[in-house]
């Protein structure tokens, strides 16, 4: 436990020294502000940038609800562009340690592989969720200001469930890092695998529910205030996280 704490603390201090908390948060704040602003002022923007020729915007178009705007911010911006940037930010989470010899120094101490992998998971999950939460809260503020009120508890529940998905993505990056040494290849593979789990939804809804991406459905339903009692997807997501970590543990022991 002490080793887990020491290692996690080092991950967080490193992120602070590299200003990761600041630039990632700023990035998510920009993403969080952009969606509600564009949705609200699309016609004004098009008019001002001179790109409205030939485009007719229906003045009677329905105004989206704050829930719909929040959903498009998270699903459209955070879970696509945001996810790619997050994965790029932690593509070296194990590769850097391995290439510098740091991993060998750590593992020759009385440190279990479990503590080492859990510290990576925890450290990068905290960094990611901190940035996402800041961006999401700012987005929430803008959305309720521009589109009307929305239940804060539902929003928090959404963030909580979304954090399981992020935990899964970090565990996936850890697993892939034990197969591949190149950070770029780790990032590309993790992005591709994460997008695959999101895209399953379009192909087979049943498989999607059984995949770690199923938790995204449950999270989104909290935003849309749709009754969804498929809490099984939390267990599925956790099972995949455990599977990723166990597999990574096995790989590191063997090679």
């Amino acid at each position: 436990m002490t080793n887990f704490y020491t290692l996690t603390r080092t991950e967080l201090v490193e992120a602070t020294k590299e200003f990761k908390f600041i630039w990632l948060s700023l990035f998510f704040v920009i993403l969080g502000i952009t969606q509600p602003l564009i949705t609200k002022y699309m016609d004004v923007i098009l008019e001002n940038v001179g790109g409205a020729d030939g485009i007719t915007i229906d003045p009677n178009r329905p105004v989206p609800s704050s829930a719909e705007v929040l959903l498009s911010t998270i699903s459209g911006q955070f879970n696509q562009i945001g996810l790619i940037i997050l994965i790029i930010s932690f593509m070296g989470l194990i590769a850097a340690d391995r290439n510098s010899g740091m991993q060998d120094f750590i593992l020759t101490r009385p440190v279990s592989l479990r503590s080492y992998l859990l510290s990576k998971l925890m450290g990068h999950w905290v960094i990611s969720m901190f940035s996402i939460s800041i961006g999401a809260v700012v987005s929430y503020g803008y959305t309720i200001f521009l589109f009307g009120s929305f239940s804060f508890s539902n929003f928090l529940l959404f963030l909580l469930l979304y954090s399981f998905w992020i935990l899964f993505v970090v565990s996936l990056a850890i697993l892939i890092s034990t197969f591949v040494k190149s950070p770029i290849l780790i990032a590309v593979t993790t992005i591709a695998a994460s997008i695959f789990f999101i895209l399953i939804k379009g192909f087979n809804h049943f498989l999607f529910q059984l995949s770690p991406g199923g938790i995204l459905n449950l999270a989104e339903n909290q935003l849309l205030s749709v009754h969804d009692s498929n809490y099984f997807s939390i267990a599925t997501c956790l099972a995949f996280i455990l599977l990723n970590l166990s597999w990574a543990n096995r790989n590191l022991k063997k090679s």
Partner: protein
């Protein structure tokens, strides 16, 4: 102290280590020699518990090695630390991972930094250190918890002559109080510290060389002559089968069997040859190593 028995290790279906058996006694300084890709680093990673092996045993004082991580200090082939940490912070981090007490660490870190010659660099960030300094910091983290066994993987191979000299001096000092295993392919460095050499080739132990072994091969005699003989054939006798001219007045005599030094001296005296010096030829570790790892 440490015993490796019938060790086998396969990585990605490729046999890296095969039936590796050897032991190192307390106080010894042993060189683990082998060409690149021989399996030295994999063997060391198994010995330090980083990698799991499929078959065989590695024991430290008769108990499995994994229970003795606190007693092992390790310097990896690639030594780099978190660049944003200072030397003191790096050592504190590794000390905490070794389970050392905060109070003990505070006192010991400055002592260890002094030992490795980085006393005044405690507040320097790792990114400000030269290659030699980083390697000394690597040794500092390896000895911080006062291990009984020190395993150094290629400690000087990546350093410039100044850095090598600094690290070699440090190893020579550590050798007096710790059991050391040094993996290297630079034989001159190994011969400065080691009393024994384990030679590994294609994942197998092909030689276990002691200083006695180097001296024990008495089939060759090195002779220096005062007067240069007209032909080297003149140096042949019933015992000496082959004569090799190393310089105009230095010859290497080789016999089919072990040579009798006194008999050779008497032979030369009978032929009224002027001998300046005569001694058994002691083969260097490089010569023995090349012989053992050569494919021919």
């Amino acid at each position: 102290m440490i015993t490796v028995e019938k060790l086998h290790k396969t990585i990605k279906k490729r046999k890296i280590l095969s039936d590796v058996t050897f032991s190192v006694a307390k106080g010894e300084c042993v060189g683990l020699l082998g060409p690149n890709g021989a399996g030295k680093t994999t063997l060391i990673k198994c010995m330090t518990g980083i990698l799991q092996h499929e078959q065989g045993n590695i024991t430290f004082n008769s108990t499995p090695i994994v229970q003795h991580k606190k007693n092992i200090g390790y310097l990896s082939q690639h030594t780099d630390f978190k660049p944003w940490m200072t030397c003191e912070e790096s050592l504190f981090f590794f000390g905490k991972l070794s389970g050392l007490d905060k109070t003990f660490l505070k006192g010991n870190i400055s002592a260890v930094l002094e030992e490795v010659g980085l006393k005044d660099k405690g507040n320097y960030k790792v990114e400000q250190l030269s290659g030699g300094m980083k390697q000394r910091l690597g040794i500092a983290q390896a000895i911080l918890h006062q291990p009984l066994l020190l395993i150094l993987d290629e400690p000087v191979s990546a350093l410039d002559p100044i850095g090598r000299n600094e690290v070699k001096k440090l190893i020579a000092r550590l050798k007096k109080r710790t059991t050391i295993i040094i993996s290297t392919h630079i034989l001159d460095d190994a011969s400065e510290f080691c009393e024994r050499y384990i030679i590994i080739k294609n994942g197998m132990i092909v030689g276990n060389i002691t200083e006695e072994f180097q001296k024990s091969d008495r089939k060759q005699i090195l002779v220096k002559m005062g007067n240069v003989p007209q032909t080297s054939e003149a140096l042949k006798s019933s015992e000496v089968e082959h004569v090799e001219c190393l310089s105009p007045n230095t010859f290497l005599l080789t016999g089919a069997e072990e040579l009798d030094l006194q008999k050779v001296v008497n032979d030369f005296a009978a032929k009224e040859m002027d001998i300046t010096s005569i001694e058994f030829y002691e083969r260097g570790i490089e010569e023995i190593f090349l012989e053992m790892v050569s494919d021919t």
